[in-house]
């Protein structure tokens, strides 16, 4: 018997999982509302997925297939450590393919591929309170949520326009959920905000350090805040992905050399790989057959 056998299924004990599930149910019942919960130690430091990790720990079952995303990629730190962790403590299957996963733990991206009913997207959230930097008192921000006083959120957007001529907030762009609560969609690029709107999948947001869980149930309105004369817009890229030629996806800039060479590639590695396997080739991409590492 391996040492791992002494852990409970999913690492957390059953009482804790029950407590988290209750919080999740409450969060689903009140979309966008931050539900407090007790925080248990996870075998990882804060900021490395304790909040997002607790979500899967509470809802994972033996039949689940887990995928991890860190800034869009499947091979960066959190994506490289959290799925193997659950493979160990819950003996679940892991995958990098969005379509095959039932639970997707993500750090700051929503997959390009449309999610389907039955999938759960679990976001890692560093700061759950969208009003935090405008109003530092937590007692006051809770009151503002309770009384639906969200004028202050627009003060921030006003400041953006006054200073930069446009709404310069590009990530953690505030949204209103189901016409009621203003929510921080975690530091995802605002490019992903429209994907949260009426998604078929359940979206959970876990903040480990701040001990909050909130949720967007499937088919729920998620509307980005804006002004009538400065409507919400997502980022646009002037060129397609250099590897797979995809357009209308979120791209990362990759520096190639020390002489200013750079390329734009899909931030979602699974999306890029799937497209290349299907034969799409970008300006700098080689077909998978010719490339040495495939």
């Amino acid at each position: 018997m391996s040492a791992i056998a002494s852990y409970n299924f999913g690492y957390l004990d059953e009482q804790t999982k029950r407590m988290i599930r209750r919080a999740i149910l409450k969060a689903i019942a009140i979309p966008g509302y931050q539900v407090p919960l007790a925080s248990r130690e996870m075998p990882m430091p804060y900021g490395w997925g304790t909040g997002g990790g607790r979500g899967p720990a509470a809802i994972i079952g033996p039949a689940d297939v887990l995928k991890g995303i860190d800034q869009g990629a499947d091979d960066t730190p959190n994506a490289g450590s959290i799925p193997p962790f659950f493979a160990k403590v819950a003996r679940v299957e892991t995958t990098t393919r969005t379509a095959d996963a039932t639970i997707i733990q993500t750090r700051h991206r929503v997959p390009e591929e449309k999610l389907r009913a039955g999938q759960v997207l679990v976001y890692q959230v560093p700061i759950p309170e969208p009003l935090r930097f405008l109003e530092p008192r937590e007692t006051e921000t809770r009151k503002m949520h309770a009384l639906e006083e969200y004028g202050l959120m627009h003060v921030k957007l006003y400041e953006d326009i006054a200073r930069h001529g446009e709404i310069a907030t590009t990530y953690a762009y505030p949204v209103k959920v189901a016409g009621r609560y203003v929510m921080d969609p975690s530091p995802t690029p605002k490019f992903d905000n429209p994907k949260m709107h009426r998604s078929d999948a359940l979206q959970l947001f876990g903040a480990g350090r701040e001990k909050r869980i909130y949720a967007v149930p499937p088919h729920t309105d998620v509307v980005s805040l804006d002004f009538e004369d400065h409507p919400f817009e997502v980022q646009h890229f002037s060129e397609p992905c250099a590897l797979c030629g995809a357009e209308g996806v979120y791209l990362d800039e990759v520096v190639l050399d020390d002489r200013g060479g750079h390329m734009f590639v899909c931030s979602d590695t699974d999306h890029c790989e799937t497209r290349r396997a299907d034969g799409h080739v970008g300006a700098l991409g080689t077909s998978p057959m010719e490339s040495a590492d495939v």
């Binding site: 009151k143 009384l147 006083e149 004028g151 202050l152 627009h154 003060v155 006003y158 400041e159 326009i161 006054a162 200073r163 804006d226 002004f227 009538e228 004369d229 400065h230």
Partner: protein, 258 residues
Amino acid sequence: MSDEALLRVNGLGKSYGSRIGCTDVGFELWPGEVLAIVGESGSGKTTLLNCLSTALDPTRGRAEYRMRDGAFRNLYDLGEAERRFLMRTDWGFVHQNPADGLRMTVSAGANVGERLMAVGERHYGRIRATALDWLTRVEIATDRIDDQPRAFSGGMRQRLQIARNLVTNPRLVFMDEPTGGLDVSVQARLLDLLRGLVADLGLAVIIVTHDLAVARLLSHRMMVMKEGRVIEAGLTDRVLDDPREPYTQLLVSSILQV
């Protein structure tokens, strides 16, 4: 002035344990009327003002306010949501220290625009136009609209705070020593400005001050407080020219003559 009061206060009192903050205060305030509350420090002026503006819950008494629909409501029976709504639409509060009433880290324009956004204005161009208009009215150069109040002088901050409060056309404004801490020439200009705005907009004002000259210049009526009680009330000129209570006489005779 209308023939119906805006605010009716009855038997209002606030105790801190066995100590009295203020007690047995009653008065009526009409639309467009400026009422000064004067007295030395510790006399209960600020406690009274905080009770009236619902920042403090009084221990006893009532204060009935005529809402925009004409119905009188006891302020202390209102829900918190209603009170806060009143506070950012129909009321204003000008603090002695502008930093208490302003957001020091957002621009002047956003400071003025915040109340508009709080009541649902979602058009940047209109918010900005209104902010520019108000900056002009309080004599702040319009090219300072994107500066933070941190970069403003004390007098400018105070004028900005006034603009921020008046932008939603309130009917009642509370002021707590609005000219405190300003030098006399700046004070004079601010008083001039306030007098003009109050008259133009028909504001009702309750102003707390220890400066009798400010009370003389701004207010129609005044109440003199001592040890938590109103000891004398009447038309400002009457109280200052013909004080009846010995304490009021002392107060009036204490004014320094230059």
